[in-house]
């Protein structure tokens, strides 16, 4: 594969995204904010009243940290599928950028960083909400944002892989129903995987969300153990390892 061509201009492209985010953030945040709140209300408080404690916790306390993780995942996934696609295909923003000293790798790296920014921000907002609701019980929760950032990189890259492989706005629905929804349901957000068949539990190890949920929940509850370091390293290593792939695919897509 060709040499990767990244320069500090990545920050200028990222700055462009942040300028626009800064103008629309109220609309954006409230949209992504609303859905986790509905889950907290309906499942945590409503259904939770009928559910027996999970891993020794009231259901609301079990569920809330999981929603921090899933909000982070969804925020990034939308940005790096629909958002990226609109910029690339409809607005031709990428084409305009690469007519300047900015390279295509700069553009896509900035997209990935912007995706990670959204994970960090949106996950942290939900973290603050559950803090206010009294569902955070440990100062270890301060480590949640950096963990969200690393997981955000990974989610951004994975979403961008889909965008690079299936560049069609109608097919993003498949991404969400075939990949994101199963991840959301079977990564330990709503229930511990210990009760599921062994195969499912082992498959869950491949899910980035599963590790993020474990990390966030443990940090929020102060249940620190050495296994968490491995989960973090797994997310980080995967994010580093697949980084060249979306660059390659997106370049192939735009540059003819």
């Amino acid at each position: 594969m060709r040499r990767i061509d990244i320069s500090p201009l990545v920050w200028q492209v990222l700055r462009r995204h942040l300028i626009i985010f800064g103008r629309n953030w109220k609309v954006n945040i409230s949209f992504n904010f609303f859905e986790p709140l509905l889950y907290i209300a309906a499942l945590g408080m409503g259904l939770g009243a009928y559910v027996k404690p999970m891993e020794g916790l009231p259901y609301l306390n079990f569920l809330a940290p999981g929603l921090v993780a899933s909000s982070a995942m969804f925020a990034t996934s939308y940005e790096c599928t629909y958002g990226t696609f609109v910029r690339m295909e409809f607005q031709k923003t990428f084409q305009a950028m690469v007519a300047t000293p900015v390279s295509m790798d700069d553009v896509i790296t900035a997209e990935i960083l912007y995706g990670a920014f959204k994970s960090t921000l949106y996950g942290s907002v939900i973290l603050v909400v559950i803090l206010v609701l009294g569902l955070v019980s440990s100062p270890w929760a301060l480590l949640v944002p950096p963990v969200l950032a690393v997981a955000g990189l990974l989610f951004a890259e994975l979403s961008m892989l889909w965008t690079g492989l299936v560049p069609n706005i109608d097919n993003f629905n498949y991404f969400f129903s075939l990949i994101m929804t199963p991840l959301f349901l079977f990564s330990g957000v709503f229930f511990p995987l210990s009760g599921l068949p062994r195969l499912v539990r082992e498959a869950a190890w491949l899910s980035p969300l599963y590790h993020l949920v474990n990390l966030v929940r443990s940090l929020v509850l102060g249940q620190i153990n050495p296994g968490l370091a491995w989960e973090f390293i797994w997310l980080l290593a995967l994010a580093v390892a697949i980084f060249p792939l979306p660059l390659y695919l997106m370049r192939r897509l735009v540059i003819k």
């Binding site: 200028q12 700055r15 626009i20 923003t93 690469v98 007519a99 300047t100 003819k256």
Partner: protein, 353 residues
Amino acid sequence: MTEKDIIVAENLTKEYNGKTAVNGINFRVRARECFGFLGPNGAGKTTTVNMIYCFSPVTAGRLTVLGLDVREHPREIKSRLGVVPQENNLDPDLRVLQNLLVYASYFRIPAAVARERAMELLAFFDLDDRTQEKVDRLSGGMKRRLTIARALINNPALVILDEPTTGLDPQARHLVWQRLRRLKERGVTLVLTTHYLEEAGQLCDRLVIMDRGEILEEGGPGELLAKHIGREVVEVGGSDTGNRIGANPGQNGPAMASGRDEKATALPARTIEARNEKHQPPSDWETLVLSRVNHLLRGHLMVGDNLFLFPRESGQELLQALQAQPVHFFHLLLRPATLEDVFLKLTGRGLTA
């Protein structure tokens, strides 16, 4: 390569998806000139300029821009170029002024400098009262001017304009042309692609005519006209007397169509003849016209039903000679020669074909 050559292309070739879009072309663009790529859609003009601004990788051959190889130094080249792409790709999420400021940041232009330059450019392009407008609210002509302003934010040595006025109304087009001429006066080298002959004639010092990935001809607009056409063209529309040249016009009545169709006889004569022509051998009126005025011609061209005659001396003389013929033409017109005539002569096809 001399210092004056801003772009040098040698055997430049571009293939994609198994097709050859640009087939081994050679050209040089000199400093401070306006150089045009003229040709129909699909001729390879856009592909060529995409390679110049380091967007599309070169398949084969050599291409240097501002003395640098496009394969080795894309960032350096792009930092000194301005690009106006065929499709407006202004940032719709940003306002007018912000479009320029953010674009300037991609060139690492300090914010204060960028703001000053952006205000100058907006004034130059008559957009200084729209700095806070949303880009989507601008008219087509304004968007185009803003796109050109954006391309100038880094004080480029070379500006590439891909179909700069396609889709604009005539007034907006003339405004863009005026501004481009003023840029040229300031010493900016311009490269433009167009399928508007008038645009090439108005702006270009030199141009190449491209078709199907190859360069057919190269020269100044006047030079090309003088070489291939001359100053004037007489257009002759197909004679309604068909192959009966010499017959007195007006004597062809419905009787010509007799016996073919009861209903047809009720139709106006010309309609019937048009139908009948399908069943008749091709008319050779043009051969007859040519034989009569041949001594006045330096060349001719058949374009569909029209005959284009290139007068040897005076167009007026030729026109009078044609009018003296006992033939009724649909259409008889003396007009100045244009680059379209050159293109037609070289390819046998129109530019919009």
